[in-house]
Symmetry: C2
Subunit: 229 residues, 2 copies
C-alpha cells in the first residue's frame, strides 16, 4: 500500500457506543483505561484503524479484542475531529453505535483495560478524551431514531411482552406512555409476530409473548412505512 506521505496524516480511531438495556435502565459499555493518556478513566471502547480493513471490520476487531463482543450490527454515528481531542497528536475518531441485550452477551476484559462495565446513561463516570460529547451525540441519535423507527428489539429477549417493549421505549425516550394506546399502536403496526405462548410464573395475569417480525418490518420500510410512537 502506498503511503501518500506527501499529505498530512492523522491517526484514526474507531470508537463504539454500545447501548444495553437490562429491563430497567439504559446503559452504555465503558472501559477503564490502563494506559496513558487518561489512564484510570473511563472511555467508550475503541482502537486504531488498520490500513487494510474497512471501518466496520475495524470496529468488529476492536470490540472482539477489548470486550469479547462480536458480529454486532453497528451504525455509523459521527466523526469527531477537534485537533486537541487527543494529547498524543492529531487523532480523528469515527464512531459507531449499537444496541444489545446485556444478558445475552459475555464480556471479556482485554489486556488493554483494567475493567469493562455497564453504566446507566443517567450516572456516567468522568470520561476520557471527548467521549462525553460522543455519548451525548449517541443518545440524541438513539432518541431521534426510536421515534420514527421501531428500533430496540435487539435489547429485549427474542420473545417479549408488550409491556416489556413499552418499558424500553419509556426508558429510552424518558416519557410515560398510555398502556392501552401503546398496545393498539404496536399491534396495529404489524411488526409483532404472536407466538401463541404466554409468560407464566409471574404474580399476575400471564402476558402474551411476541417476536419481532423482521421480514414484515423490512417490507414495510421498503414501501415508505414510518413508525410513530
Amino acid at each position: 500500500m502506498q503511503s501518500l506521505s506527501a499529505y498530512p496524516q492523522p491517526s484514526v480511531t474507531i470508537d463504539c457506543v454500545i447501548f444495553g438495556y437490562d429491563g430497567e435502565k439504559l446503559s452504555v459499555l465503558l472501559l477503564n483505561r490502563k494506559e496513558e493518556p487518561y489512564a484510570g478513566m473511563w472511555t467508550v471502547p475503541g482502537g486504531f484503524l488498520y490500513l487494510d480493513e474497512t471501518l466496520e471490520e475495524s470496529a468488529d476487531r476492536i470490540l472482539r479484542t477489548k470486550t469479547g463482543l462480536g458480529s454486532l450490527y453497528l451504525e455509523q454515528l459521527f466523526t469527531f475531529g477537534r485537533p486537541d481531542r487527543d494529547p498524543r497528536g492529531r487523532v480523528l475518531s469515527v464512531t459507531y453505535y449499537t444496541l444489545i441485550n446485556p444478558e445475552h452477551v459475555e464480556l471479556t476484559t482485554g489486556k488493554m483495560a483494567n475493567d469493562v462495565n455497564w453504566f446507566p446513561v443517567s450516572q456516567l463516570p468522568a470520561l476520557g478524551f471527548d467521549h462525553k460529547d460522543v455519548l451525548q451525540t449517541a443518545i440524541q441519535r438513539l432518541q431521534a431514531k426510536v421515534t420514527y423507527q421501531p428500533v430496540g428489539f435487539e435489547l429485549l429477549n427474542p420473545q417479549f411482552t408488550i409491556s416489556e417493549l413499552q418499558d424500553l421505549y419509556e426508558c429510552i425516550l424518558n416519557v410515560r406512555l398510555d398502556r392501552r394506546n401503546f398496545h393498539k399502536k404496536i399491534t396495529a403496526s404489524g411488526i409483532l409476530k404472536p407466538t401463541g405462548q404466554k409468560r407464566l410464573g409471574e404474580k399476575n395475569r400471564a402476558p402474551e409473548l411476541f417476536e419481532f417480525d423482521r421480514e414484515r418490518y423490512d417490507a414495510l420500510v421498503k414501501s415508505g412505512f414510518q413508525f410513530k410512537i
Copy 2:
C-alpha cells in the same frame, strides 16, 4: 505536533456536497479534475485535511480554494472508508453537505480543476472515486431531513412566495403536493414571516412575499416541534 507514527496513518480528505436549486431543478456542484487519479472526471469538491484545523475549518478552506464559496453552513454527512476507494493509498473521506442558492454566489475555478459546474441530480456525469455513493447518501439524507424539518430556505431568495417554496419541496421530494393544503400547513406552522409586499410584474395575480422567521423556528425546534410535510 506529535506524529503518533507507531500507529497506522491514513490520509483524510474532506469532501463537500453542495446542493443548489435554480427554481426548477435540484443540482450539485462538481469539479472536473485536472490531475490523476480520475483526471478529466467529475468529483465533489474536496481536499486533504491539514493537521492543525478542525474538520469544519478544513471544509471551509477547501471550498474557498476550489470553488470560491465561503462561510457556508455545512452539516456532516458520513465518513467513507473503503480501503480501495482511492488508488493512491488509504484515504478516508469525511463528507459534508449544504444547500445554497446558485444565483447568490459566484463560482471561481481553482487551479486544481479544469472546470466547476452545476449538474442536475437527475443527470449526473461519470464520477471519480466513490463519489456516486457520496451523492446518493447526500440525496437520501436531504430527502429524509426535509420531511420533518423545514430546510431549504437557503435555496430561495430572502423573500419568496409560497408557490416557490412548494416548487422546491416538490423538487427535492419528487412528489406533487396540493397547493391549498400546502399553503395552510406552511402558514399555520408559523415559521413564515409576512412582509406585506407582493411580487408584481408577473402575468397573474401578484402573490404575497414571505421571509423565513428563523427566531420563531429556533424557538419551535427547542420546544420539540416537528414539521411534517
